[in-house]
């Protein structure tokens, strides 16, 4: 019974990590949607992008070191695994986000990269929500 209870608790904790991943992906998507749709750089866009870039780029020297970052793309094992399933090569999305954040390319090019980043993050959000839902 103790093992069952521990398992229940653990499942709840794990599911909340998937939800955190979906919510963090949504935060970045929201900022990018405004940029693509209206061509407007909202206040907080650069901060969201930087947080996502740092989180996707996060590489630890030691495999057993605690994974802590501001956003949930690389905080826990479940999140890292889900990101790996949807975006096998994280350099791809990092490059797109960096292009938008740098604000050096033409607006059309930035919006194209932002749109593609939205699609990747949306797929990530969708997958995280799928894992969050109670499995039959």
């Amino acid at each position: 019974m103790v093992a069952l209870e521990a398992q229940m608790s653990s499942e709840s904790e794990v599911r909340s990590r998937y939800l955190a991943l979906a919510l963090d992906a949504r935060k970045v998507i929201d900022a990018l949607i405004v940029f693509v749709d209206e061509g407007k750089r909202e206040e907080g866009l650069d901060l969201s992008l930087q947080g996502a870039i740092d989180s996707f780029k996060e590489e630890k020297e030691h495999i057993f070191s605690p994974l802590r970052s501001r956003l949930a793309f690389s905080e826990y094992y479940e999140q890292v695994r889900t990101v790996g399933e949807v975006i096998p090569d994280k350099k791809v999305i990092v490059k797109k986000l960096e292009t938008v954040k740098a604000d050096q390319a033409t607006m059309a090019e930035q919006q194209k990269e932002a749109f593609e980043a939205i699609k990747l993050l949306s797929a990530l959000e969708s997958r995280a929500l799928y894992y969050y839902r109670p499995q039959p």
């Binding site: 019974m1 209870e5 521990a6 909340s16 990590r17 919510l23 963090d24 949504r26 949930a72």
Partner: protein
């Protein structure tokens, strides 16, 4: 059959209205009432849920109007409703047990006495309890970090929503808050277990480890049965 992008603003309105009803039904539990009475931390918890619910409902009222004009973004925008619903689904599992934990159903003098004792421990001077009253299990562990993680992130994607009250659950603060779980008393002896997060803000890896305070078994025995 029209594709999802062609469903348009009307579909967004309908989806947002359905989610509005869901959030409203949860917040109905937390409306102000004189009876039954609750301890102060529980009241603050309900107040926070009400505020978050109001912000969510205000946002949903304008959700369809703020839809992107670019039809390629329609599905990505619409998916936000599913994320918000999941966030509220997560809250829902805490709210009903908290509502059930009124002062008539709980041994609140005992809880207050234990809280006073706990507050004598260094770094737990300001620890508070939100009480959950459960009848489906006789033991459940709720991590404060999980609750704040969901609340703060949900607040970050809803305009004008505030973060979870630090005094109720900021596990990065050396003075930690505590969630207390008490089972409903049925016809059999139970163990009451209070889980207390350890207060070590300098070591985040250990912030989620917990110490345990176990109350004596009623009648000095435990028949080993569980709910």
């Amino acid at each position: 059959m029209p594709n999802q992008a062609q469903l348009g603003v009307e579909t967004l309105k309908r989806d947002a209205a359905a989610l509005f009803s869901f959030v409203d039904s949860i917040c109905q539990f937390c409306v102000d009432h004189d009876s039954p009475a609750y301890l102060e931390p529980s009241q603050k918890f309900f107040e926070y849920i009400r505020d978050l619910g109001d912000a969510t409902k205000a946002y949903l009222n304008t959700f369809s109007e703020k839809a992107p004009k670019d039809p390629r973004l329609y599905q990505d925008y619409r998916q936000k409703l599913e994320t918000i619903r999941s966030g509220w689904f997560e809250f829902h599992q805490f709210i009903k047990p908290a509502i059930d934990a009124d002062t008539l159903s709980m041994p609140y003098p005992l809880v207050e006495a234990l809280t006073r004792r706990l507050n004598q421990i260094k770094q737990l001077e300001k620890a508070k309890f939100i009480l959950f009253h459960l009848d489906e299990v006789n033991y459940l562990q709720v991590r404060v970090s999980g609750l704040t993680r969901t609340a703060d992130r949900l607040a970050s994607i809803i305009p004008d929503a505030r973060v979870f009250p630090p005094e109720l659950g900021d596990d990065r603060d050396p003075v930690l808050s505590v969630v207390c779980l008490v089972p409903k008393l049925l016809d059999r002896p139970r163990n009451w277990t209070f889980r207390v997060p350890t207060a070590r803000a300098d070591d985040e890896a250990s912030a989620e480890s917990e110490s345990e305070l176990r109350l004596p078994k009623r009648g000095g025995r435990d028949d080993g049965r569980t709910a």
